[in-house]
Amino acid sequence: MDIHSIAEPFDLQKLRRQIPLMSSHANGHPLVYFDNAATTQKPLELLESLNNYYQFHNANIHRGAHYLANLATEQFEDSRVAMAKWLNASEAAEIIFTSGTTESINLVAFSWGQQYLKPGDEIVLSTTEHHSNIVPWQMAAERSGAAIRVIPVDDNGIWDLTNLQTLITAKTKMVAVQHVSNALGTIQPIEQVIAAARAAGAHVLIDGAQAIGHFRVDVQALDCDFYAFSAHKMYGPTGLGVLYGKRSLLDAMPPYKGGGEMIKTVTFEKTTYNELPHKFEAGTPDIAGVIALHASLNFMQQTGIEAISTQEEVLRKKMQTTLQSIDGVELFGDVDNKVPIFSFVLDGIHPYDIGTLLDKQGVAVRTGHHCTEPLWSRLKVPGTVRASLALYNTEQEIDLFANALRKALTMLR
């Protein structure tokens, strides 16, 4: 049975009732939450799971010889198994729980970097990367003497792959790129980049932070070595992330953090490390969070990942038309190949002004550089307004947003 498609028929109103925050208000207006790329809202299942865990099952896991500890350990490890299935990983031990995408990438940049990077090696990133997929590599490059090379973009912020062969070469040891741009929504042509990396013998890390909540991700089909994302962007809890890694690489890498759980034996003379996945999970993990993430996965599974993609495509199209109908809107990124994230400017108007006036009308968007400064300095735009939608948003909300935006424009022009 395909784990992704045991979904119930799609029912938007029912779904919205499962997301308590959808009936909130902001500044005296019904909240229109279009900041989903920053973090998604949470289903009741998540809350139930947290409540259930803390009320009835809370205990520290592994090594426990008592009832509660066994229960908690089982639930914790069940979540790992469910995540492995969701991503189609070969085995549960390839799923490492971290504190977020940022930590997942830092783990690889540190541990993989320590094992594989030498002076003169090259790391390939792209211009559209999030700071979390730039800074860890800058730090790894500095430690190792490796250099960073960057996939360029055109004036719209779209990857320019014409010179991919000269960019990804025998010198390249790692290609670390995003699956979906958080600033633009663009679904990147990573298949092509992964193929080039494979041909050059380089390893590949995919930053999937903005992909995982929107469409089906199959790490084996992608054939990437690492895939990193955050629970809080897939209807899950804050403070938790996942790193998928191929066993062969994870086995070869030195540990990242030291502490309890990640060891086999400790003496002051010599410490030996535990097996996967524990080698990379030092200390007490976020037990409640990991178990709650399983609830979020169940929510996505019951909704159906294909249903999520289909519904979001409806929203994306309507949002696209709506924004294009507003005078002076300049949109960035790929118009077709994208999730419903929209980054735009309005001639001469500062994004902060638009953000503030939308907010006062109950519409939550984000403004600024969205942690992708290199992209905006390339496009010579200091920042944008970003409206990012998710599954549970509605077409009426897009109308509310459009009205609020028009009103803001009248005031500001």
């Binding site: 500044n27 005296g28 108007i349 500062h350 994004p351 902060y352 002004d353 953000g355 503030t356 006036l357 006062k360 009308q361 403004t367 600024g368 550089h369 200091p382 920042g383 009103k407 005031m411 500001l412």
Partner: protein, 144 residues
């Protein structure tokens, strides 16, 4: 505290009492922003820049012979600029010691203190800090 500073704060509070909703308040702020004379481009240097993540503020201070401080300021966002105008209106032409003693209560009273939160990062909190720093520096200079 200088009574003119307090009087001006009260003035602003009364002005805002006239507005029945958010949008009216913001219309007024935007108007103030549009009216605020721009800082000379020559003064928009990095030295005078107070950088928030969201918007930028430039602040220029000078002292008149009577020992009072004068401010001109600007922002790249019009709402920030309107708020900047209000702050300048309160502090402009005042003595360093009065500026240092001022509690800028009007911002809260008109319901706009969220813009002052350091986490808001529009440059406004930094600007007020900077005004106080100037005042302190002038005061020390005068004492010498």
């Amino acid at each position: 505290m200088s009574s003119t500073i307090e009087i001006r704060q009260q003035e602003i509070i009364s002005e805002f009492e006239m507005f029945s909703d958010w949008m009216q308040k913001y219309e007024y702020i935007i108007e103030l922003g549009k009216e605020l004379p721009l800082i000379a481009t020559a003064l928009k240097t990095d030295e005078l820049l107070i950088k928030g993540c969201q918007s930028k503020v430039w602040l220029h201070a000078s002292d008149a012979s009577d020992g009072c401080l004068h401010f001109t300021a600007d922002s790249d966002a019009i709402i920030t600029k309107g708020l900047v105008a209000l702050v300048v209106r309160v502090f402009d032409g005042e003595k360093p010691e009065d500026i240092l003693q001022t509690d800028l209560h009007f911002v809260k009273a008109i319901g706009l203190h969220e813009h002052l939160s350091p986490t808001r990062s529009n440059g406004l909190a930094g600007m007020i800090q900077q005004i106080k720093n100037y005042a302190l520096a002038y005061q020390l200079k005068q004492k010498q």
